[in-house]
């Protein structure tokens, strides 16, 4: 089930907005498609990322995939320490302990253009 309180991109990232902060991760569908995740590379805290730009990579045993920023802004926190030790959390808990970034939104209106849960469910059903 796709959590109803999140917004999504067609690239299978999710966003949870609280005030002007957005938490970012990849969806359960994406994690499942990638398979066993063994490596996550995230940007440094303090960096500014642009919406739609590559902000990192996620690697399964088989392959490397780019991560695309669903929203732009300054990276204020990352889950790097936890995901370095236990990248498999992206598979086991993609919407919780597998989170990746916390971004201070540059432009909150970017969020409203993202997919809601129903639209994202429809998207993955098509795949």
């Amino acid at each position: 089930m796709v959590p109803s309180d999140l917004r999504f991109t067609k690239d299978h990232e999710w966003v949870r907005v609280e005030g002007d902060l957005a938490t970012v991760g990849i969806t359960a569908h994406a994690a499942d498609q990638l398979g066993d995740i063994v490596f996550v590379e995230l940007p440094a805290i303090g960096r500014t990322i642009d919406q739609h730009a590559t902000f990192g990579v996620v690697e399964s045993v088989k392959a490397v995939s780019d991560l695309f920023a669903p929203v732009g802004g300054e990276v204020v926190e990352t889950n790097d320490e936890s995901l370095r030790a236990t990248p498999e959390r992206v598979n086991s808990d993609p919407y919780g302990e597998g989170w990746m970034l916390r971004v201070r939104l540059a432009d909150p209106s970017q969020v409203s253009a993202l997919l809601d849960a129903a639209a994202y469910e429809a998207l993955i059903a098509e795949e």
Partner: protein, 372 residues
């Protein structure tokens, strides 16, 4: 997915229905619709290292070579000397082009005085069959490509012998590594070989195409208590990489000779009969290869992947052929071609991982050896 496969022109093995029922993720592999994973690559990998795994390898090519000249003909076609095999034994071999480039790597089994089985990679079966047909021409030998009539099921891992013995009337203790015998498995007549591509003890079962599901089901049922699981191509790749075994298309190709790949010992130059590629390979043996396959362990942060550049003091010395996070060792491992002077154990190199230079150390192959 079966409909997609049909429209994409992919072949299915006799076990396709089993894979779909198990919920496997299917991929196009050399024109075959094959399972890449079932429960997950790491879980499947660990099952083979600690218990047992079941593989569908029916996509691979089975070429039977029979006739009074079969051994002599193969000795001229391949880099090994199949007539030196005792009946019921096998060896690793390669078929090379006249320039020494590898057309495919193979297992050659001697089934009888005048009968051999050559097992080729799925993607190369047609090329091997064509090359053999050309090289065997004019000799008293028949080449019979039974790839589409012969299914191949492998059971690999420390528990594989005990599981398989429950389904046979024979004791597998007598079947040595790289040996093959006729046997009945779960009522199905089979060629049972003690070979594999995982670094573990294990067996490969050649059976009639239509009978493969019976063998698969019997092994699945018999192995359940011992923790046997189905294993896809994803874990097959990580298992063989840990075991330091080459994969055609990664470590081997037409532009690579056996000596570069560290497989010079396979090439039997010390025999009288000529064979295709001999002159070129003798020259490489004398002069040394222009590059060498090495094992790498990434010491910095990142995973070296196929195609990434390898640098020595900032200058490109080669490229990565295969790389992954080793499920058994928990570290990033890779194989790479590098210049001979960078190939020594302990040499510190860098891998260009998406623009970052990450330290990697040359280590001996294999990365993993099973506890004996």
């Amino acid at each position: 997915m079966t409909d997609d496969a049909a429209t994409a022109g992919l072949s299915g093995t006799p076990l396709l229905e089993r894979h779909l029922a198990l919920g496997a993720r299917m991929v196009d592999y050399a024109g075959w619709l094959m399972p890449v994973q079932y429960a997950g690559v790491i879980e499947e990998h660990r099952a083979v290292r600690s218990r047992a795994g079941l593989f569908d390898l029916s996509h691979m090519g089975e070429l039977f070579v029979e006739g009074p000249d079969a051994g002599r003909a193969l000795a001229r076609a391949l880099v090994t000397d199949p007539p030196s095999l005792a009946i019921g034994r096998a060896h690793y071999s390669m078929i090379c082009a006249p320039d020494g480039g590898v057309i495919d790597d193979l297992i050659v089994y001697r089934l009888g005085e005048e009968q051999f089985l050559v097992v080729a990679n799925a993607a190369n079966t047609a090329a091997v069959s064509d090359a053999l047909a050309e090289r065997l021409d004019g000799m008293r030998v028949v080449l019979d490509d039974r790839s589409r009539d012969t299914a191949l099921v492998a059971i690999q891992g420390p528990a594989s012998r005990a599981i398989l013995e429950q389904l046979m009337d024979a004791d597998l203790g007598a079947l040595r590594y790289y040996a093959i015998t006729e046997a009945t498995v779960a009522g199905v007549s089979a060629l049972v070989a003690r070979t594999g591509y995982t670094g573990e003890d294990g067996f490969e079962l050649f059976v009639e195409w239509e009978r493969a599901p019976e063998v698969w089901d019997a092994l699945t049922a018999e192995g359940a208590a011992a923790g046997l699981v189905p294993v896809g191509l994803g874990a097959r790749d990580t298992l063989r990489l840990e075991a330091g075994m080459p994969l055609y298309g990664n470590e081997l190709d037409r532009d690579t000779d056996p000596f570069q790949a560290g497989l010079g010992r396979v090439v039997k130059l010390d025999r009288e009969e000529d064979f295709v590629g001999r002159a070129a390979l003798a020259r490489v043996a004398a002069e040394g290869p222009r590059r060498r396959l090495v094992g790498l362990v990434v010491r910095g942060r990142g995973i070296a992947r196929h195609g990434y550049a390898v640098l020595s003091d900032g200058t490109e010395t080669g490229h990565v052929t295969s790389g992954t996070q080793s499920p058994t060792l928990g570290i990033p491992i890779a194989m790479a071609y590098v210049a001979p002077h960078d190939a020594g154990t302990g040499t510190m190199l860098d891998v260009d991982i998406r623009g970052q230079r990450v330290a990697a150390e040359v280590v001996p192959l294999p990365f993993y050896r099973r506890p004996s």
